[in-house]
Assembly symmetry: C2
Homo-oligomer: 187 residues x 2
């Protein structure tokens, strides 16, 4: 699985070669093509995933068929329906690929065992969980409190260089504005 | 600090008497009266807090002076501006007491040291971070996707027995509905 995973983990904790070999065995590669679903609503969610290549989005669709985008996940982001993953419940989110995508998945049981055996990885997972919380708190506060223009500025800072990769229509949907309103921000 | 902290931690990890003694030394008690602020917007956030008695709310106020309530925190909940706490930044949230309140606070440095010295507490902190993420994901999805009536049902399930303790006006603000709309749900 190349050195991608090691570089990713070592941004937070250094690993010896032996540790890395043991830790990397918990992750399994997965490939999906553009438009395929990683997780569909109603499925049990057994894994969480590190994006090594490509781009996905997670979203929720209400009873009227309107899609709300929760997050985008490019390289080095983790993605899953984390609520369903941690609570061992069925997904309320759908996650699909905006590009051909490569991931490294770890199972619920694998994560628990890895964290038990490797305190460094428990630490890594705690830090990542905290960053995940920060991300979703920012998303919630932006929705509560920010104008559409301010949400666009937050989007640019949270997803730098993503404007070319994410279709304008989906950026507009993420921000909760019309395509026309978005085009006024982008100029 | 009584056995409150021990019972709280042991819901997730058992501790020996020696471990509990060492761990509890990282927490400091704090008392606030109703209407006092635990954290005000713009302050550096050095601690996170476990509520042992009382009730608080965290909120964000926009430039027009409109308050949006992020969460309520009764006994056994953790509260802080977690984004500010973990990023060592200034608070964007305000947190104030709806009742006379008692808390146990742990500092950023204390948390880091405790987790380093006690792998059990790193595990506890990871599990708590995951539950925190679940809570805020539910709040975000409810805001995106649920009707006011459905948000009220979620509120009741997330905060059982809180309807008597939280003023109706604040429940309405949390749900983003008028006081009149709320009274129709409650009947």
């Amino acid at each position: 699985m190349s050195e991608f995973l090691r570089r990713h983990i070592e941004q937070i904790v250094p690993l010896t070669d032996e540790e890395y070999e043991a830790v990397s065995a918990y992750y399994s590669p997965k490939k999906l093509r553009r438009r395929q679903f990683l997780i569909q609503e109603g499925q049990l969610v057994g894994h969480m995933y590190l994006v090594t290549k490509g781009l996905l989005k997670s979203s929720i669709t209400n009873t009227d068929g309107k899609e709300h985008i929760v997050q985008f996940a490019p390289e080095n982001w983790w993605i899953s329906d984390f609520a369903a993953f941690y609570k061992r419940e069925k997904a309320t989110l759908a996650i699909d690929c905006l590009e051909d995508t490569e991931l490294l998945g770890i199972s619920y049981e694998g994560l628990a065992e890895m964290c038990r055996k490797f305190p460094k990885m428990e630490h890594f997972s705690r830090v990542k969980a905290n960053f995940g919380y920060i991300g979703i708190q920012q998303r919630l506060l932006a929705m509560m409190n920010k104008s559409a223009k301010e949400r666009y500025v937050s989007f640019i800072s949270q997803y730098p260089d993503m404007q070319q990769r994410i279709p304008k229509q989906l950026i507009a949907r993420y921000l909760g504005v019309s395509r026309e309103t978005l085009s006024r921000f982008s100029i």
